[in-house]
């Protein structure tokens, strides 16, 4: 066999490349579609003219200003933020699953979500609902991961299991603290705010939320994309990774740090949204296989798209907004079972 033919037979298949490109288009389509979904009655034509004048300021505006506000200041940032949050949760989940060699692990495994929850609850009690909530949520999310990481170092001979165990311990401590915070919170104004935060929501998303979260998310996501092939090797276990020349401590630390940054950035603006970091990577596996070179970016795109869809549902099913955490579980759970049945657990 000549070299070119050989190469072709082992490179990533064109089918998978095409799937990845299509997946990449999904969030863009989703964001565009989101502009048309909402309570405020806007016609298709109205929205198109808003977009037209947004792209070309020279066009004279012949519609009320509120149209601009609804489309460009409310719907657009919300959809972009949804894509960022969903993508971050899913990509971190995929990375953690590979790293811990465990399909049941999700983006919250190292206590990120419960740390963020406690941080948010604490900030709401201390300062009410303002920008401090982001910083507390983000700070405590990273604190939780750091604690898990150090607990994981206590007993060095089985670091991966210890890290998971550390995550479980830290998660339950912060969950207990969240309960305590709810217990002492003012039941008339603070407790509802905490409860809503814990259920996750993208309502009230503005551009400032994007600015707050984009830096950790950008660092985390691009870091994970950079090390994605090493995650393959890490999933062979520490010993084998080391015999293949991978500095597994460094590679693991980078992966954990990047996944934690992305997750912390996401949950600090969206609140607690479960399921995305668990099921989206599996859906990715069923579509595109297990190779993290493809799976990691695919998870980001799928997560982004899924979150946009769920958020659109959350604000259009009934009069009030349904918290996202409820919908992701209600949709994600059954859908996952359906996929398992349909693919007969293939990819597993």
């Amino acid at each position: 066999m000549n070299e070119q033919k050989k190469m072709k037979s082992i490179l990533i298949s064109n089918r998978n490349k095409t799937i990845l490109i299509l997946l990449g288009l999904l969030p863009i389509a989703g964001i565009f579609y989101s502009l048309f979904v909402g309570r405020y009655p806007l016609s298709f034509i109205d929205i198109l003219s808003v977009l037209k004048s947004a792209f070309n300021p020279r066009i004279i505006q012949n519609y009320p200003d509120i149209y601009n506000t609804v489309v460009l200041q409310i719907r657009l940032p919300r959809a972009i933020l949804g894509a960022m949050v969903g993508g971050s949760l899913a990509i971190s989940g995929a990375a953690f699953q590979g790293l811990f060699r465990n399909p049941l692990v999700s983006s919250g495994i190292l206590g990120v979500s419960s740390g963020a929850s406690f941080g948010a609850a604490l900030a709401i009690i201390l300062y009410g609902q303002n920008y401090m909530v982001y910083f507390f949520a983000f700070g405590f999310a990273l604190l939780a991961v750091t604690l898990s990481f150090f607990i994981g170092q206590v007993y060095r001979s089985t670091p991966t299991i210890m890290l998971v165990l550390g995550g479980v311990v830290v998660s339950s401590i912060f969950s207990a603290l969240v309960s305590f915070a709810k217990f002492i919170a003012d039941p008339y104004n603070k407790l509802p705010a905490i409860t809503f935060w814990l259920m996750g929501s993208l309502a009230n998303s503005r551009y400032r939320d994007i600015f707050v979260s984009i830096i950790p998310i950008l660092i985390g996501v691009s870091g994970l994309i950079a090390v994605r092939w090493q995650i393959n090797v890490l999933s062979m276990g520490d010993k084998e990774a080391k015999t293949m020349g991978v500095n597994h401590v460094l590679a693991k630390a980078i992966t954990v740090l990047c996944a934690a940054l992305a997750t912390a950035g996401a949950v600090s603006v969206s609140g607690n949204i479960g399921w995305v970091g668990l099921i989206i990577p599996h859906i990715g596996r069923m579509l595109i296989g297990n190779d993290n070179r493809m799976l990691i970016p695919a998870s980001f795109f799928l997560g982004a798209f899924f979150m946009i869809l769920v958020d659109n549902l959350s604000r259009s099913i009934i009069g009030a907004e349904i918290p996202l955490g409820i919908l992701t579980a209600l949709i994600g759970g059954p859908f996952f079972i359906y996929l398992l049945k349909k693919t007969k657990g293939k990819g597993w």
Binding site: R101, W229, K239, E240, R293
Partner: protein
């Protein structure tokens, strides 16, 4: 200069001596069979040679270079490992698994390039598993899985291949498939192989096939004997190390004369 030189190494775990003052040399394109009962420290010794464990004392030189001075990447470019119990997790395809061997030649933020793909493909060909390339490796039989691990090791382009019990859990045919591929690598690719096994007959197998074979029996923290299999795998030595009575038979097979085979008979109380 010997290809691999192990100089007076000792290893302790929780203050318990596992290996005590072991020395040996290995030449290029040689097969070194590390033989010993279960729990005698074979795996520990392999781990020391791969630089996974730090020695209590002594030194290991690979082509004149002190292993303890090399980083994992430098070691992996010379020494590849075929694990005993590979724990399968995600159903990667065979080609994805083999490609991982190229991590030894790539940086942390790299993905494999065309050159890496070509070498991985050659490794797949060498291991004779081209037909399995697209299959999820979780679905393969034990013998096929072992060949995948060998291919992955070959993708590292090693000069030394370290194998830990390469034929455990394999049936007769699959065992032979693995042994034959080792034979091929030593003979055709000039790779040196250091393998741990409790199958004494493997040492004879390689020697019977005319390969440059050394066997060492590990017992109670040090080598009981080391040398050519037909010299050291004697009735008396086996009795001492394994606590069994056995018989060693000579037979002729094809063009090979004086083929040897050990038949275990009974335990000694």
């Amino acid at each position: 200069m010997a290809f691999l030189e192990v100089k007076q190494i000792s290893f302790e775990y929780d203050n318990q001596k596992i290996l005590d003052d072991i020395s040996f040399k290995m030449e290029k394109s040689q097969i070194f069979c590390l033989i010993g009962p279960n729990g005698s420290g074979k795996t520990t010794m392999l781990d020391c040679i791969m630089g996974l464990l730090s020695l209590k004392s002594g030194k290991i030189f690979l082509q004149g270079q002190d292993i303890s001075q090399l980083n994992p990447k430098q070691i992996a470019q010379n020494i590849a490992y075929v694990p005993q119990n590979h724990k399968k997790t995600f159903p990667y395809t065979v080609k994805e698994i083999v490609l991982m061997g190229r991590a030894a030649h790539n940086g942390l933020f790299n993905s494999p390039n065309q050159h890496d793909h070509l070498i991985a493909h050659n490794a797949i060909e060498t291991a004779g598993i081209e037909h399995l390339k697209e299959r999820p490796y979780t679905e393969l039989s034990g013998g096929e899985g072992q060949l995948v691990m060998i291919a992955r090791a070959l993708a590292q382009e090693p000069t030394l291949l370290i194998m830990d019990e390469p034929t455990t859990h394999l049936d007769f045919q699959n065992s032979l498939v693995v042994l034959e591929s080792i034979k091929y690598l030593v003979r055709k690719k000039q790779i040196s192989v250091l393998l741990a096994t409790h199958h004494l007959n493997h040492a004879f197998y390689f020697e019977n096939n005319g390969l440059d074979t050394i066997a060492a029996m590990l017992n109670q923290k040090n080598f009981a004997v080391i040398g050519r299999p037909n010299k050291i795998l004697s009735k008396d030595n086996i009795e001492k190390v394994f606590n069994i009575n056995c018989q060693i038979i000579d037979y002729h097979s094809g063009r090979f004369q004086n083929q040897k085979y050990i038949i275990p008979l009974e335990t000694i109380n």
